[in-house]
């Protein structure tokens, strides 16, 4: 039996209050560090083509699945440090950790690489905990989680060899990569500490640059806390030709996989040529709020979801 809306919203009040506090702390964190808060369109004629992120269409345009391209166009125009909370839309993503519309926090910093951005993330999250009355440790779903940084880093290669028994850098098998990630690799992460997974196989670089000296891997990192995939960071790719070629491959794969024609984001590709060295990250705010509210489901931290419209 569905819970009555009035009761549901009343029950969520403590979580929604905490959510608002977390927004305040995040804004304060970035403003102290001279980041500029920006807003970019949630509806655009072209977005980053991603084989496994299905966008919603709005007439001939698309709803943003991430604000990344617009934020990088600002960086290319000389803005040095940017952050944004934005509504993002991804079709078909619904479950305990997913709602098709969700809030992403993204920030970008000129001169930083992916590990520099991970350090920002550690500081940001460790700064929120005491403001909410926690020491360095929170309890999430019955497990104590120590947020003291630095958080353990492990390469994708080592994590897969350890938990799944194969090397995804040597063997390019993206189906097995995804299935094993969910059933073997992620469950093996320590529940007591955040885990930073670094150096993804080059075919999964997306918008990250390849590692200088080891082009088999990309400078991409992901943060996992309490079993939740929280954030994805890159040393941003600043080679326009390479970016265009990766996007063309993605467009081709999307056409094959789901029969959809995605336009190339030309204005972005043009801007990549002027991008300075920079790093950036996308962090799922709803999941961060889940952690700090000890919430089992994303529905417990959002006032309205796809099932409570």
């Amino acid at each position: 039996m569905a819970e009555d809306e009035h009761r549901r919203l009343a029950r969520l009040a403590p979580n929604l209050r905490r959510r608002a506090q977390i927004y305040d702390f995040i804004r304060a964190f970035f403003k102290e560090r001279d980041f500029l808060e920006v807003e970019t369109p949630i509806r655009a004629p072209a977005i980053a083509p991603e084989p496994f992120i299905v966008p919603f269409q709005s007439e001939d345009w698309f709803l943003a699945a991430s604000p990344e391209l617009h934020m990088k166009r600002l960086l290319a125009a000389g803005y040095e440090k940017l952050f944004q909370f934005s509504h993002c839309f991804r079709k078909g993503e619904r479950g305990r950790w997913h709602n098709p519309e969700f809030i992403m926090l993204e920030w970008y910093r000129q001169g930083a690489d992916y590990l520099g951005i991970i350090e920002d993330t550690e500081q940001l999250i460790a700064s929120i905990a005491p403001k909410l009355g926690f020491k360095n440790t929170i309890t999430y779903q019955g497990k104590k989680l120590d947020l003291t940084f630095p958080w353990p880093r492990i390469t994708v290669r080592d994590a897969y060899i350890k938990s799944a028994g194969w090397d995804p850098v040597a063997v390019n098998d993206s189906v097995r990569f995804d299935m094993d990630f969910v059933s073997k690799v992620l469950p093996a992460f320590s529940p007591e500490r955040p885990t930073v997974l670094i150096d993804y196989p080059a075919p999964q670089a997306s918008l990250a640059r390849l590692k200088p000296g080891n082009p088999l891997v990309a400078e991409r990192a992901e943060v996992f806390i309490g079993g939740l995939e929280l954030a994805n960071a890159y040393s941003e790719l600043i080679d326009a030709r390479e970016q265009a070629s990766r996007f063309r491959e993605a467009v081709e794969e999307i056409r094959r996989e789901r029969g959809q024609d995605m336009p190339l984001p030309d204005s972005f590709i043009k801007a990549v040529a002027r991008l300075p060295e920079c790093g950036g990250i996308a962090l799922g705010i709803d999941r961060l709020v889940m952690l700090f509210c000890d919430a089992a489901s994303i529905d417990d931290v959002m006032a309205f979801t796809a099932d409570n419209t």
């Binding site: 992120i53 078909g92 990569f177 995804d178 299935m179 990630f181």
Partner: protein, 188 residues
């Protein structure tokens, strides 16, 4: 059907065996494929299995129909129901009924889920009124938080009730959890 359409309590067939989806969990690495983890209950032997599917995979949806039936009686661990139109009798085992077997009263109307001619499961009302036939004598005096004690209702089911419940009272029971909800009327 597409795996993305599977929900909790969907009925699916795997290698000819009928399963109820007890849990359906959607998960997805941000840049990766959607993965669906199902916990499935075999509706013939009650066994539980876990299966993992990725987006785009298909599962065979079981075609089900429902009939209005009446509960008759039980013999050993078989519980008999009768179709109110055709008068066909259908047994269900205690294993498949699970907690529901505790709330069946003779003559009570239920909805029988059928796959072809085979009875699969019954749907009960969310709450049911049952008479208390036995209860502990409460020794506690009234306090602000109600004391709980053990009582037995007419179907033989043992249930925790507040201490003020007496033999002959009729109480409302949640058939999903088996928990006491409220007192409906007092016995003499």
């Amino acid at each position: 059907m597409e795996i993305s359409g599977v929900r909790r309590n969907s009925k699916i067939l795997i290698d000819g065996a009928l399963y109820n989806v007890e849990e359906a969990e959607f998960t997805k690495p941000g840049k990766g494929r959607s993965v669906y983890r199902l916990r499935l209950k075999n509706l013939r032997d009650g066994g539980i299995i876990d299966r993992t599917y990725r987006s785009g995979e298909k599962v065979e949806e079981a075609s089900m129909n429902t009939e209005e039936e009446q509960y008759l009686y039980h013999e050993g661990d078989q519980y008999y129901f009768m179709n109110t139109k055709t008068f066909d009798q259908h047994p269900l085992s205690a294993d498949l009924l699970g907690i529901k077997k505790n709330f069946l009263k003779e003559g009570m109307e239920v909805v029988m889920l059928m796959m072809g001619d085979e009875p699969i499961d019954v749907t009960l009302p969310i709450t049911i009124d049952l008479k208390v036939i036995e209860t502990e004598i409460s020794t506690k005096t009234a306090t602000i938080t109600p004391q709980m004690k053990s009582s037995i209702v007419e179907t033989g089911y043992r249930i925790d009730t507040p201490s003020f419940i007496k033999v002959g009272d009729v109480i409302k029971v949640d058939t999903r959890s088996g928990n006491y909800v409220e007192r409906v009327s007092t016995g003499k």
